[in-house]
Symmetry: C2
Subunit: 188 residues, 2 copies
């Protein structure tokens, strides 16, 4: 493994455990067994390292929203496959998802927010378009695409957070339950 990948891996590990601001460049390069100029050669700045980390390691998460774009009228199946994609990603990239969760409501005037703002906006738009399309079949949903996109993602993140703390398991059963809860509430 080359130094670039080692740096990315160590930064991810440390930031997910203690936060972006709390872990400095010095500690990351020490943990990676290299020195600062090497890190600055590859990434240019601390912020550049964060951007690279997020850009390069969230591709699978972008793909998880593909079902939203190819909605075919079966809303439950579409939502289920999105939840399945997110849960799989969170399972296989737990440190990264932990960090993304911490950035979820980061202050607007912070590097963390700026690093994920575009990604999050794209996620929301994709889901809003899905609920917009679904509203044509289900008239009573109209006008609430934004709220549904946000609460759908919020539910996914809530369950992911539970799982990261050992209070849930992101398996197919939870995919079904979560989707069913979102569609029909907690009574059924």
């Amino acid at each position: 493994m080359d130094n670039r990948e080692i740096i990315l891996g160590r930064a991810l590990e440390l930031w997910s455990q203690r936060g972006y601001d709390a872990v400095g460049v010095q500690e990351i390069v020490e943990s990676a067994g290299i020195t600062k100029p090497t890190m600055y050669h590859y990434f240019g700045s601390k912020r550049g390292l964060l951007d690279a980390l997020i850009d390069e390691r969230t591709e699978d998460l972008r793909n998880a929203l593909a079902p939203a774009a190819s909605y075919n009228g079966d809303l439950v199946a579409t939502l289920e496959s999105i939840v399945r994609g997110y849960f799989a990603f969170a399972r296989e990239n737990s440190a990264l998802y932990r960090m993304l969760l911490a950035f979820w409501f980061a202050p607007a005037d912070s590097d963390e927010y700026r690093a994920v703002a575009a990604r999050n906006a794209a996620q929301h738009e994709s889901l809003e378009r899905l609920f917009e399309a679904a509203a044509k079949q289900h008239g009573n949903m109209r006008g609430r695409q934004k709220a549904y996109a946000a609460t759908f993602l919020g539910m996914i993140n809530t369950y992911a957070g539970l799982a990261l703390n050992g209070h849930a398991t992101l398996d197919d059963q939870l995919v079904y339950r979560a989707t069913h809860q979102f569609m029909h509430g907690i009574f059924s």
Copy 2:
């Protein structure tokens, strides 16, 4: 207003805008028009300032969970009054709620997490007991108290986050809609 209150107010303002780690003691005391020893006289440390801020300004939020403790069999009404309490608090203490949201998924090994850990645990326990009690009437809920407590709070926070960014209004209509969505899903 005495210096102690001024310090609390300025710390809240700055932290909610840019994050706890990103704003240092020096900037807070300058913004408050005093010097560091004054702040250290009242709060002992940066962390002590954070603890005091959270302890002293979240009393109304603790009260918002009172309906959970006096559950009388009407789950919808209980949840509605809890949501109403949270929404009112978020409306009237927007900067504080912004900060609490940023701390929601803070790394476990961070001052932010430690500052809100006890509060959040108490919140969850209170809600879990509520859903536990409700499960006696609604058998199909059994065993999911933890998940319901988490997703209920998650939905509240998601809507609060939307409102803080101008995408929603935390009024009685949204109280009704949010509760109804949690109970019966997005279809009705």
